[in-house]
Symmetry: C3
Subunit: 389 residues, 3 copies
């Protein structure tokens, strides 16, 4: 438990102001807050490894709203809230009356009377997911201000159109553990590259989350994608500014190979072009099936031009010592395994399979840390109590 | 916590016999039991506001059976059982085998071996919902009597065809808090009025629950609806008797305006005509889609004759000082917001929006109070312990 | 609580090695382990009857994966995990991405970071259910060995193609309680007989589980079924070997009457012919609807030849003293109640209805016992603590 004591000591030196707040975008959080979040997640993980209970709450509700399918985020959230002692209540929009003309404002309040946290996944429509989370946060704030809610639950972004903070922070924690410290990441090159997938319309939140967060810790971020597959321009600009400030670097390449060259870390992953997402959103809203089919056909045809964007052995050889760390948020489209041709060659994936599982393993503890820091004023003292138990 | 001490003292003076019992209709409960229920709910709410845990159970299951969509009742029940320390298990009839010929009697027993409470919502078919709850209650009673169940779970009515006790008691609590005491309600006029909605087939349980409960506390109850939109005659007769006994009043008006005149409280809400519900039930049972469509068409056409039954500013002006309290169980059909024309004008609703949210906020605590009083013999002592913690 | 003290004393004499293990087939468990399992389940049941909490865990997740509809097993599992203090998380494959090409290996790990137990029901396809459970168990074992999982969750078979251990152990416990002791079962005749049902394709796991388990305790097992309705030959062979070893008997009859003659216990239940299940599996895998329809038609026609295989009063008269104990896993196809003609005559079922409910009542405690013995090294000490509370 020496590592826990060290982490607790380090935690004491950081300045954070997270109690009662939401977690919507990593770049809205101060660097100290991100550092503290990593430490809290590490402590919770180490306590769990040591068989110690993580219960902090006697009761209380954690609400989840998943507007898209999810396995690992759903279970990560369920695991985190259970470990802390909260009960989970899923707002299943099919079973609820939310579809029948209820306003977000009203629903947010009437479900939240005993809620500590609301976790939301809403990543389908560009310009909507994060906005929806802010609408919910605004509604419960208003409810609290008007004496409707006894407490103001915190909203946690479980993936939106802009960012995927529980993923990117778990990834950062995986890197911290892999390389030994956050300081050891300074100067490391991370290649966040588009990769080919036979599917269409994957959200932009992972690549945006990665470049928006990793750029803050002195890393050299290389973003690569085919022409026309750009991310939200504001997020790219933010990553560029972050890099300049943190003493790292930022470049955009038009070939996977260029990004991979001398990279310490590679993150090859498919996403839909920003411009396509922009065209898709009004079609989805109108329920224009014909339009959506035509767009899908066009996109898949366009995608097919970039089948060479696969993380294969040849490209891995270009990385530093041919031994970059391969990362993925899972599930990966593995060539010859989960699809005929995909994001990553089977041999490459197999070599890093356990590493990607381990990477995923940080997510429940990151979510638990987000909740703990948002709900418990003196979370360091709470962790000390857990460590003593 | 002075208010909690006062409430506890007041509670000690009331005679109740609720342990091991169900909560199926408010009018099956003695007045002292309703008064105690309000006090227990208030105490739980105040304890929660003060940040005190409400946990009374170490473990145990609360089963929910929702035979209709629900958001706020679902979350109110989930919140209440979580706060008390119970786990929630939803009997999803689609996923279970209940549809495949199992009898209610058998299912009620085999799901209840570790259950403390069974919450049921079944409000669609006239003559069926409350009867189903009694069937379940009878089955678990038999199971307990025959040594099959170690304990006999209590059934809580989360809305049926006759009553909606968690709603009406929450509404009564909202009135008690708004006017200062139950005694202050004496002589107040409450207008329970039908209102126009573009939808069809809303249950009768809310208006019936309101007139059946409010008539017991000396209020002047004015029920208003268009011709042909009467409630279950037995419930109207009961409300009339209650009013006579409690020293209040009871009248049926045929115009919203008449009910609103000098009202202290207005509750404008759509419901389906009793006679239509009676015709609909056999059609639903037979699965007669054509018959149902024809009936819906006929009803919507009939409904459309009463679009003027909207709670608008002009009608609100008729109330006492033009400032009656507007109530609604939510979601309301708000003209120009959730529909073109509905139950309430947007301006009126907006003025009372926070009040309706606050009204909804009593429901989880009312449900928790129902469960506590049904499961814990000396619930007052349990509350004292929670207050001291 | 004398019975609890006696059971605890008896438990202390048994040698078990269950901690960290799965529960996949009863015949993989030593006789002492089955005896201990019965004792632990009895103690938990008696503690619950005495109103004592059964909480052993502070937090932790129990994952359920139901690949078939279920009411009583679902609620038994939910009840058991709640009583022990675990939270339930259901992997709903419709809502998750498991259908989108994820491998079992990956999913098993990414959902298990905080899991204590994974309960699986997968009984549809011959040769698949138990194999799937082993695949999941292998995946989390690999995850634990590679440091991905802090703990290796135990897999519990909630019914597969081969065995239904939570059912057969609950049935054995019902027999132990009915006849007074396991020793009192020695020499008793149990008739596990096929029975007619208007439905098609019921799993083989219950009859296989019954003959595989009851044959270990000196009982005379009589298996009866029409020609062509045989069980998996390896399981029949195993039951025969078990009987020889335990000093019981094993016979296969071709008429329900022969099995019932002088039986102490009868278990009449429908199942699909092994050979049909073998033909059905590839059809299901191919999604061959026409083929499935043709097979169903053929089978129902064949089934109809055996409508006389009903547990009626005349056949009950053949049993020892005309008073054998009737058992069923529920729901039974009751002639004239749940179907026109089925497995059991209404009068017979009604006479044993409470007994079958009581039989079902052991299941939650058997599951809780399986989890406790798989997760808590010194489970006897844990039970002692619960008994003292």
């Amino acid at each position: 438990m020496k590592s826990i004591r060290n982490s607790l000591a380090e935690l004491g030196k950081l300045k954070t102001d997270t109690c009662g707040k939401d977690f919507l975008l990593t770049w809205e959080k101060a660097e100290d807050e991100i550092r503290a979040l990593l430490l809290v997640a590490e402590i919770l993980s180490e306590l769990h490894r040591a068989g110690k209970p993580l219960r902090v709450f006697d009761s209380g509700l954690a609400i989840s709203i998943f507007r898209d399918n999810s396995t690992r985020t759903r279970f990560s959230f369920a695991s985190a809230v259970n470990a802390l002692g909260l009960g989970l209540a899923d707002l299943d929009e099919e079973k609820s009356q939310i579809a029948h003309g209820e306003t977000v404002r009203e629903t947010a309040n009437v479900i939240s009377f005993l809620a500590e946290v609301i976790g939301i996944r809403d990543d389908m429509y560009l310009g909507e997911g994060n906005a929806y989370m802010r609408e919910v946060a605004g509604a419960v704030q208003e409810g609290f201000d008007r004496g409707i809610l006894h407490q103001r639950p915190s909203v946690v972004n479980l993936q939106c159109d802009i960012d995927h903070p529980t993923q990117s922070v778990a990834d950062l924690l995986a890197l911290k553990r892999h390389f030994g410290s956050l300081e050891a990441l300074r100067g490391r090159k991370i290649a966040m590259s588009w990769a080919y997938s036979p599917s269409y319309g994957k959200p932009l939140s992972v690549p945006q989350g990665i470049i928006g967060l990793m750029s803050r810790f002195g890393m050299k971020v290389a973003l690569a994608h085919p022409e026309g597959y750009g991310l939200i321009p504001e997020v790219v600009a933010l990553a560029r500014r972050n890099s300049a400030k943190s003493g790292g670097g930022f470049e955009v390449a038009s070939r996977m190979e260029d990004a991979f060259r001398d990279a310490d870390i590679v993150y090859p992953k498919s996403w839909a072009p920003f411009s396509v997402m922009q065209r898709r959103t009004p079609l989805l809203r109108k329920g224009d099936r014909e339009g959506l089919k035509a767009l899908e056909k066009e996109c898949l045809a366009n995608n097919a031009r970039f089948k060479r964007w696969e993380c294969d052995e040849a490209k891995m050889k270009l990385t530093r010592g041919g031994a970059a760390l391969y990362m993925h948020c899972l599930p990966a489209d593995i060539s010859g395994v989960s699809c005929a041709q995909g994001e990553v060659a089977a041999g490459v994936f197999e070599r890093y399979r356990h590493a990607t599982y381990r990477e995923a393993g940080f997510k429940p503890f990151v979510i638990a840390a987000m909740i703990l820091m948002a709900r418990v004023k003196n979370y360091t003292a709470a962790l000390r109590r857990l460590a003593k138990d």
